[in-house]
Subunit: 228 residues, 2 copies
């Protein structure tokens, strides 16, 4: 990769573990409702509710808690004991209070790159939650700029690249979601490296028609080979 000046990193499931924690909570949510509906169907109902709510709530944990509560009232046909709602709120707060677990190799990679490139963080989700996670991660010192986006689509990347005074050909995005981190950046004429995480939220998966070429590496440490 040539001419890269600015490298933007996605945060959740690229720098630190995230989806794993959501899946743990989903597991507990299904367990709470097992007398009403089998696990798979609870998951399906929750996912449907989440997707319907994205346009109004956006991404992040607060939206997730609200969607769990909404799915719960629908699944139980308003007949659940109220205590269940409290349990769901507690699950959500648990998620917000999780420690930040860095993915292997992350700090070494940032250390190796931050004297040679301008590094920025480009993520989506709840503003406060993402800021808190960045603080807990101890990685703040490596990033010249932090951008928390409401949605990672082409138009928003375009604004970001303009804001940081960068030409798309000098911009590299590194992340785990083809849909949010890779495709929109490539469409803009930028560069992207995909590092799959062990699990991907169904909403972030690609459909067949999004069939473009991009560089995929197995772990974050491998990006150094292409950059040094």
């Amino acid at each position: 990769m040539k001419d890269i000046k600015i490298i933007a990193f996605d945060a959740d499931d690229t720098l630190w573990v995230n989806e794993t924690y959501f899946l743990e909570v989903e597991e507990k949510f299904c367990e709470l409702l097992k007398d009403y509906l089998p696990k798979d169907e609870v998951s399906k109902e929750l996912f449907k509710t989440e997707i319907e709510n994205i346009k109004i709530y956006g991404y992040g944990v607060k939206a997730y808690i609200l969607s769990m509560i909404e799915a719960l009232t629908r699944i139980t046909k308003n007949k659940a004991e109220q205590g269940l709602v409290n349990k769901v709120i507690d699950l959500g707060k648990e998620l917000l209070n999780k420690p930040v677990e860095l993915i292997d190799g992350v700090e070494e990679v940032l250390k190796a790159l931050y004297n040679k490139y301008i590094l920025i963080l480009a993520t989506k989700g709840d503003l406060l939650d993402q800021e808190n996670k960045l603080k807990k991660s101890g990685l703040g010192k490596y990033f010249r700029h932090v951008e928390i986006m409401s949605e990672k689509k082409k138009e928003n990347y375009e604004n970001l690249i303009k804001k940081i005074n960068c030409d798309p050909k000098n911009f590299l995005m590194v992340g785990n979601s083809p849909k949010s981190d890779i495709l929109p950046v490539i469409e803009l004429g930028g560069n992207a490296i995909h590092i799959p995480f062990k699990t991907t939220w169904a909403h972030e998966e690609l459909s067949d028609k999004d069939d473009v070429d991009f560089l995929k590496v197995k772990s974050i440490s491998h990006i150094l080979e292409f950059l040094e």
Copy 2:
């Protein structure tokens, strides 16, 4: 006011109506719970829950919905019919779908200033909700930069001023909340104009010890006298 180069405007209750809508929803929330507790005590319980949750949820409508649900389960001692939870969620979604009503004089003021100063928007709350309101307002074209902050405190203004390459003495903040818009900016050595809105959320009110001097005007049109 001399040497002003950049003017930052708060959004909610400075450019458009906001607190009024929250108060309408609070009224309806109290109505839903009137069989359990008198109105004033419902309001008090809700406010207490909101304040406790700020550190984990931050500001904005999603945090407000979650706090209403939590207050509801506490007030009804988990004995309310589930339908109430749905009604609260609907109240919250109603809030997110409200039209944006500009405060008198706003557009004229922005039009008069935006060729002479760099105008930016500096607000807090939900990322997506604030972006949607800005879109609905039609005011986006006046702002060179939009900053949605998790909290409007000194440290965050310091970062903002650094990011936009401004000296505090060339920076003016205009807003309705002394606590969030005025005090932290004055502390930094910046300038601020306070335009009170007809109602102020109790959390944004000043305590006696925050007794500093600042310019207060009756309506946004009045700021032009100090700037032209």
